[in-house]
């Protein structure tokens, strides 16, 4: 079965959770986070989606950033979750699993075949 391209709106709600989780696993800089998301199974995610999401998390106080000098160029901005970020991750993950259970239960029910037009 060919899976059509992902609806960006589906990812939008979960992106913050994914970012918080990845950063909780390992402190990373922007491009590194994008690479890790692609390795996770989101090959078509745009950097232009991830960087503003990181910026939002930082503004909300859920991640903190520090500059680390790089040998290959300018200093890199590394992100890691704050205590509020860990709390948001725990709450968000619980809500996500609860929602996924409900949606999954409905979507896995068998549906009758679509009616043929004109019949």
């Amino acid at each position: 079965m060919v899976i059509p391209p992902r609806d960006p709106q589906l990812l939008k709600g979960a992106l913050s959770l994914l970012l918080l989780h990845l950063l909780a696993e390992r402190e990373s800089y922007g491009y590194q986070v994008v690479q890790r998301l692609r390795e996770t199974g989101l090959p078509d995610i745009l950097e232009g989606t991830v960087y503003p999401a990181l910026s939002r998390l930082e503004r909300e106080g859920r991640v903190t950033a520090r500059l680390v000098s790089s040998t290959s160029g300018p200093a890199r901005k590394y992100y890691r979750p704050t205590p509020a970020g860990y709390e948001a991750l725990a709450t968000g993950a619980a809500q996500w699993f609860a929602l996924a259970d409900v949606v999954g239960a409905v979507l896995t029910r068998p549906v009758p075949p679509a009616p043929i037009e004109g019949s």
């Binding site: 800089y29 922007g30 491009y31 994008v34 745009l46 950097e47 232009g48 989606t49 960087y51 503003p52 999401a53 910026s55 939002r56 503004r59 790089s70 290959s72 160029g73 300018p74 200093a75 890199r76 901005k77």
Partner: protein, 184 residues
């Protein structure tokens, strides 16, 4: 695979970075500098990793990136757009003042065509509510003119149009309190 980042690649990256910065005009200078640095650094890393063309393509364009940053910064709040208001005001003034000046000059040329040696005071008609009458005081075809400016009403309409185009009423703190109270 490592890709060498040439000076041309750096120029392309700088072009995108500054295009982004230009679109983030209403963020604080500190926030803009931080975003410029971060995007530049990430693009340089991505360019060395996958090539500049691919890195820029993956960024998704400065317009979209700026829209995402603004949404992240302002929580999707519709804000006053001073830049649009400024562009509208300046462009509008340029066009209107050119038109009004041309009209006065055309009246003067008409006078000179009718009588190159004209002497006396000549007054052009008003241009609806847009332009005051212009008065020429000539002595043997030489002289000065006064008036011909935009009327007060035209200024009022123009100011209102500028406020509407830039949604400048949203810059008023009282308006924000009112709209946020409605949302709650």
């Amino acid at each position: 695979m490592s890709h060498p980042v040439s000076w041309f690649d750096r120029l392309r990256i700088e072009s995108v970075v500054w295009s982004l910065d230009h679109r983030l005009y209403d963020l604080s200078p500190r926030s803009r500098i931080a975003k410029r640095r971060e995007v530049r650094e990430n693009l340089l890393t991505a360019s060395a990793d996958i090539g500049t063309s691919e890195a820029l393509r993956n960024l998704g364009g400065s317009r979209r990136l700026a829209a995402e940053y603004r949404a992240a910064e302002f929580d999707g709040e519709v804000r006053a757009n001073w830049f649009t208001a400024f562009i509208f005001f300046m462009t509008g003034q340029l066009l209107i003042q050119s038109l009004l000046t041309e009209r006065v000059l055309a009246f003067n040329e008409g006078l000179m065509a009718a009588n190159p040696d004209a002497t006396g005071t000549f007054t052009s008609s008003r241009f609806s509510f847009i332009q005051d009458a212009a008065t020429f005081t000539l002595d043997h075809g030489q002289g000065v003119w006064t008036g011909g400016r935009m009327t007060v009403w035209a200024w009022v309409v123009f100011a209102v149009a500028t406020i509407l185009v830039g949604r400048l009423w949203r810059a008023v703190p009282g308006w924000r309190r009112l709209t946020s109270a409605k949302v709650i």
